[in-house]
């Protein structure tokens, strides 16, 4: 009886429940120490939403790329042509020391936190808190007050971690834009050129004659990237990617890229990352055991071959793609070959790609 009397009201009650009260109010105010939140205020929408990381590099204002930058070349150093595409708006190195690199990056987004986390992470360190960052030695760069960070240890910013390295990093911050000069190289070399670096930083300025080669830029002519320590036999039609910082970087067809790289850590989390790029979940034990094995640089490597829609860690998307990764443990690091492109391009080349991978050797 009671149920019967309630039944006609059900649609109304359901509607009431569905509509609900769309107005809410805030909780009581909570006080928190600022250092616990470390809020970054007034960050641009793009940087706030992580678009520099998710959608590629922060777009540089055209004016920055159009400008030329120079500095007083320290004795025993040489200037190299700038590479704005690699965030090297001015580039130097210690003459005769190809392992060294010193470059100016202007106006990179992400604010101090994201950039400093990356810098510290490259030496296996954690960014200190805001107070410690503020207490770093002071420098002046491009007329703005900034700080100097000094690193030493294993430098992991390439395919192979480099032990016994050091870095000097001078930076300034304006909002979410960071200017920096970074000098890396073997520890003894960096230590010997510390004062030269600081003098160079202090002297950096906008070049008033941007297009004309200056005395400071009277370095060697544009050169190819440092030669790879690996060699490979590739099929005809694979085009080396000029100027790439990656090892054995080739373009296959219109959109497919092939390269060799390395990273510290364990294999399985990396497999999960590569799977997540294709929208797949973590690999399980059975899946890991079932992966085909090949030889890469003399050690056993697994073959992860996936098709689907590809989204890279930097947000690059490719529909109907094929990702072919061959990865193996080399000591404490992982060495891997990654080949990603439209499935229509990769699939016909799959066997050729695996054959090419089998030919990879260390030089010398």
């Amino acid at each position: 009886m009671m149920l019967r009397s309630l039944l006609p009201n059900v649609p109304f009650l359901a509607l009431l429940a569905a509509c609900g009260d769309s107005a809410s109010t805030w909780s009581a105010e909570r006080e928190v120490a600022a250092e616990k939140r470390n809020l970054q205020w007034d960050v641009s929408t793009r940087n706030r939403l992580g678009l520099p990381e998710m959608g590629g590099a922060t777009p540089q204002p055209a004016a920055d790329d159009a400008k030329a930058w120079t500095g007083t070349l320290p004795s025993g150093w040489e200037a190299l042509p700038p590479e704005p595409a690699r965030f090297r708006h001015a580039l130097w190195r210690v003459a005769g020391q190809p392992d060294t690199e010193c470059y100016l990056t202007v106006g990179v987004g992400g604010g101090l936190r994201q950039n400093a986390q990356r810098w510290y992470g490259q030496f296996g360190q954690t960014m200190p808190d805001t107070a410690a960052m503020a207490a770093l030695p002071a420098i002046t760069l491009l007329g703005k007050a900034g700080h100097l960070i000094e690193f030493a240890g294993t430098y992991s910013s390439g395919p192979v971690p480099r032990e016994g390295f050091a870095a000097l990093l001078a930076f300034t911050v304006a909002g979410d834009r960071v200017d920096s000069v970074k000098f890396t190289g073997p520890q003894p070399v960096v230590a010997a050129h510390r004062q030269a670096f600081l003098d160079l930083v202090a002297s950096i300025r906008v070049d008033t004659a941007p297009k004309a080669p200056t005395a400071d830029h009277a370095g060697p002519a544009p050169t190819a990237p440092a030669p790879s320590q690996y060699e490979i036999a590739v099929p005809a039609g694979w085009a080396p990617v000029a100027g790439s910082s990656r090892d054995l970087h080739y373009k296959i067809g219109e959109q497919t890229e092939f390269y060799l790289s390395g990273m510290g850590g364990d294999l399985r989390p990396m497999l999960d990352i590569w799977r997540s790029e294709m929208g797949q979940g973590p690999i399980d034990e059975a899946g890991l055991a079932a992966l085909p094995k090949v030889s890469l640089l003399g050690t056993e490597a697994v073959v992860l071959d996936q098709t689907g829609d590809f989204t890279s860690m930097t947000g690059r998307k490719l529909a109907a793609a094929q990702s072919l990764v061959v990865a193996g443990k080399q000591g404490a690091a992982i060495t891997f070959v990654k080949c990603v492109g439209p499935a229509a391009e990769v699939a016909p080349q799959r066997e050729a790609i695996l054959q090419a991978i089998a030919t990879i050797r260390r030089k010398g």
């Binding site: 769309s22 009581a28 105010e29 909570r30 809020l39 929408t45 992470g121 850590g265």
Partner: protein
Amino acid sequence: MTTTTMATPPALPKAAMAPPRSLATAVLGLVGSMELSVYLLLYLGLLTFLGTIAQLELSAYDAQKEYFESWSAPLFRGYWIRIPGGLPTMIALFCNLLIGGVIRIRWQKRTIGILITHFGMLLLLLAGWVKHAWSISGSLALFEGQQGTTFVSFHEWEVALVRQDGDKVFERMVPAEAFAAAALRGLARIDDPALPFAVDLHHWLENCEPAAKGPMVTTDMPVVDGVYLRAVDVDLLRRERNFAGCYARVTERGGATHEGVLFGWENRPEVVNDSPFTFTVAGQRYGLMLRRKTWDLPFSVRLDKFMKRDHPGTVTPMDFSSEVTVFAGDQTWPVRIFMNNPLRRDGHVLYQTSYGMARDGRMYSALEVAQNPSDKWPEYACYVIAVGLVWHFGRKLLGYVKSQQQGAHA
């Protein structure tokens, strides 16, 4: 003289001679019956089975919500037929045990063990309710050398309104469950007359990614500062991997508006959501953030060393643990957190749950932080139940031994 003899009435059945049971007695009898206990336990078994099967399509978190922390649960996923969920079942079991095992049972020497056991079971169920109603849990992920004091929810979101005054941040929150449904359909207003503005949230997306709106891109979503939120399929199996997003419109009392995009991009310890959508009203700078529900520990923890040992020849971890230093006031002390050996302090429990690797190859340790008022109750309940069972069966055993001895003497 007439003698009248009255006929003897026929004997009534014994049951019919018993005083009539009231409705309340009958209901109490039914609710506290052993039969109901058995049915309820079998039904809990069925719910467990259904909840387990559901995890083929749902995350463990969602399955738990849908089957065990709910008033009703789907019998078959995707169909409308619903059956009572874990919540009413466990409430019924609590009432059943309370009435049948404590109130209606005769309190005698021989039932002491049974009573104690029932009290233990009630405490166990009560612990579950307290945890359901009042506990929080989240993740604290740290790189080696990193010190942390804040933990964030695995699955639940909140919008925080923040303002900073020197070295203090003042924040007010609204949980997503309070506005998400309305923001999905239209505008969800968050208002407080004490503030000089109201906030309207709209276009709520449970999983999304921000994208730049170029000339070749068409979208139905609002575009703010050349950026829009693009919906991404919700990951039902790993809900913690979803990144929620929505749009915010701040309307000043005078009518001026500020538009912003809120995106819960956070992947600690690598990516920390610390950049609010900033706007200024009446000379005061405010920020709006969509973030995972955030809580602060009353102490801080620094990860000194993360250790992981693999089974020989594999990448499967044999065990992993974290050596941490706890900082509380001017005191510090080292603790090793590993499986089944959590850190307990100030009502918080820190468990070693996971680990991961950042994009730059650094390993990090992930600790689950739980604040549960009934944290130790299940342990105490087990002790109580054990005492009750030992008492009851010990008494039975002694009685049996005694009767055997008497039989032997006879």
